[in-house]
Amino acid sequence: MALYSEKVMDHFRNPRNVGSIENADGVGEVGNEKCGDIMRIYLKIDNDVVTDVKFETFGCASAIASSSMATELIKGKNLSEVMHLTNKAVTEALDGLPAHKLHCSVLAEEAIRAAIEDYFHKNQIEYIS
C-alpha cells in the first residue's frame, strides 16, 4: 500500500493554483522554516467572493497536496463559507492523510484563515472569528 492516497499524489504531482497574486487582497502565511513547512496563500476577493487564489508551499507531499486541495475548495466561494473551511474538509477531499501528516491539513486551514484575516485587517473590517 502506498503511503498516500491517489488524490494526494495527484495534487502533489499536479498542484492546482500554484503561484502568487500581485496586489492580492489578502495574504496568509503559516509554518516555519525550522519545522520544514511553510504555506503562503494569496487571495483575490470581490464582493466577499474569492475570485482567485494562489499558493506557494515549502514542505512535504502532503503539505503541497493540502495547499492545492484547499485552494480548490475555496475558489469561487463566499467568504462566510471560506472562513469555515476545516482541516477535516481538506483531509476528506484528499481521501485521507496518514495520521502523522494531518498537521499539513491544519496548516492549510490556518493559512487560508490568515489570508482572510489579512484581507479584513487591510480593509478595516471587523470580524468575529
Binding site: E29, K34, C35, G36, I38, E56, T57, F58, G59, I64
Partner: protein
C-alpha cells in the same frame, strides 16, 4: 528502476540465493540434532562461521550469529556495560551520530546510572582519535564508534581509535553494519574487540547478522534458552540465512577492490554533478566516505517531496528530512555535523552499487537538478531567500 538506496538494504547476490536454497533443500536439519542429517547442517554452520571469520581476520570461535545489526549492537553494549559494572566502571564513550541501535541502547544504560558521553562530530563527519584519547577516564568501560556512518558514509579512524582503547585497556566496539563487505576489515590489525554486521547490507539475506567478539571478552546472553552459540544466543540457528550471509560476504570481499574503484568513479561524477546546484552542500568528507555514498542538502526544499518525485522517475533514494523520519526533527546525523534544521530538511542520500551505469548517473543528476529547481519554484521560502527577505544558510 534505478536503485540508489543500498544503505537501506541491498539486493541479494546470486551466490547468496543459491547457498540459501541449497541449504533449504538439502541441509534443513537442526544442527543440534545428533544424527548425521542434523550434523550435516552443523557442518554447514561451521563452514559459514569460518568463512565469515576469515573475511574479517577473526577466529571462528569469535563469531556469534544474531538476528542482525541492532541485536549485535545491543548485545555488545550490554555485555561491555556488565563487564564494566562489575569493576565499578560506568563511563561509556560514543558519538552523537551513531545508529539508533547504539544510541537507544546507551540511553537505556543511562537510566541504569551509566554515564554516557557522546562526542561531537566534526563538520566533515569524522571523529578524531584525539577526542577519544581525551575522553577516556579510569572508569571508562566501553568506547563504541561506528566504522562508517549510515547516512553520510564517513569512515572513522577505527584503527587509531582501537589502538588508543587497547593502550588504555578499554573495550572497543564498532558498529560496522555499513562497512562490512564494502571496506577492508581486519579486527586484529584494527584493534577491534567487538564488531556488529548485518547480512542484508552486503547482498545477503535480511534478519541475520554477526557479532564478532574477541576471545577473552565475556558476552552477556540476551536471549535465554538452548545452548546455541556457546550459550550466548539461544534459538535454533537460521542455517539457510547464515549460509546465505557467508556466501554474500565472501563474494563482497572478493569483489571489493574492483567494485570500489568503479563506485568511487561514479560517486565522484554524482557529487560533481549535484555540486553544480546552487545553495547545495555535500554532507560528510568528500574523500573519506563509503565508495557508494552521496549525501547532499539543498536549501529551500523538503526531502520527502524530492524523494517522491524521484520515485516517479524510477529512482529509489532516501532523505533525512523530518517528514521521512516520522518525527518532528530531521536526521540526528545531519544535526550532529552542524547542519541547521532548516537545511537538514532538504537532504538526499544516494547509496549506489555496481549495478549503476554511467548513463544512470547522468539521469540521476539531471533528475535531482530538475526536481530541486521545480520544488524551489513552488517554495515561498526559496522566493524569500532569492529576493533577500530571508537569509541563506549555505553559500
Amino acid at each position: 528502476m534505478i536503485y540508489a538506496d543500498n544503505a537501506a538494504t541491498t539486493k541479494m547476490c546470486k551466490v547468496s540465493i543459491e547457498a540459501m536454497t541449497d541449504c533449504i533443500e538439502k541441509f534443513w536439519g537442526n544442527p543440534s540434532s545428533l544424527y548425521a542429517f542434523g550434523q550435516n547442517a552443523a557442518e554447514k554452520l561451521n563452514q559459514a562461521r569460518k568463512t565469515i571469520a576469515e573475511c574479517i581476520g577473526a577466529d571462528s570461535a569469535e563469531i556469534y550469529f544474531t538476528s542482525g545489526g541492532s541485536e549485535s549492537d545491543n548485545q555488545a553494549i550490554i555485555s561491555a556495560a556488565n563487564i564494566g559494572a562489575k569493576k565499578h566502571k560506568k563511563h561509556i564513550i560514543s558519538s552523537t551520530f551513531e545508529h539508533h541501535a547504539v544510541l537507544h541502547a546507551l540511553k537505556k544504560l543511562e537510566k541504569e546510572n551509566f554515564e554516557i558521553e557522546l562526542l561531537d562530530v566534526h563538520e566533515n563527519g569524522i571523529i578524531l582519535p584525539q577526542q577519544i584519547s581525551d575522553a577516556i577516564r579510569n572508569d571508562t568501560c566501553l568506547v563504541t564508534v561506528m566504522f562508517a556512518n549510515n547516512e553520510i558514509g564517513t569512515i572513522q579512524p577505527i584503527t587509531e581509535i582501537g589502538r588508543i582503547c587497547h593502550d588504555k585497556k578499554v573495550i572497543f566496539h564498532t558498529d560496522a553494519v555499513q562497512a562490512t563487505g564494502h571496506l577492508p576489515i581486519n579486527v586484529v590489525e584494527q584493534n577491534i574487540d567487538m564488531l556488529s554486521m548485518s547480512a542484508h547490507k552486503f547482498n545477503g539475506p535480511k534478519g541475520i547478522g554477526v557479532l564478532y567478539v574477541r576471545r577473552g571478552v565475556p558476552l552477556t546472553t540476551l536471549i535465554e534458552g538452548g545452548a546455541q552459540e556457546r550459550g550466548k544466543r539461544a534459538g535454533t540457528e537460521n542455517v539457510p540465512a547464515i549460509m546465505g550471509m557467508a556466501a554474500a560476504l565472501k563474494e563482497s570481499c572478493y569483489n571489493m577492490a574492483k567494485s570500489n574503484k568503479k563506485l568511487i568513479e561514479l560517486r565522484e561524477k554524482i557529487i560533481d554533478g549535484l555540486s553544480k546546484i546552487p545553495y547545495s552542500v555535500l554532507n560528510g568528507d568528500k574523500k573519506n566516505r563509503l565508495p557508494g555514498n552521496v549525501n547532499f542538502c539543498f536549501e529551500g526544499i523538503e526531502g520527502e517531496s524530492l524523494l517522491l518525485l524521484l520515485d516517479d522517475r524510477g529512482i529509489c533514494a532516501s532523505s533525512g528530512s523530518a517528514c521521512t523520519s516520522g518525527s518532528l526533527d530531521p536526521s540526528h546525523v545531519l544535526l550532529a555535523i552542524g547542519r541547521p534544521h532548516e537545511v537538514a530538511h532538504g537532504s538526499l542520500r544516494l547509496s549506489i552499487d555496481e549495478n549503476i551505469s554511467e548513463a544512470d548517473v547522468g539521469y540521476i543528476v539531471r533528475s535531482v537538478t530538475e526536481i530541486v529547481d521545480y520544488l524551489r519554484n513552488l517554495s515561498p521560502l526559496w522566493k524569500d531567500k532569492i529576493t533577500g527577505k530571508r537569509k541563506f544558510f549555505l553559500i
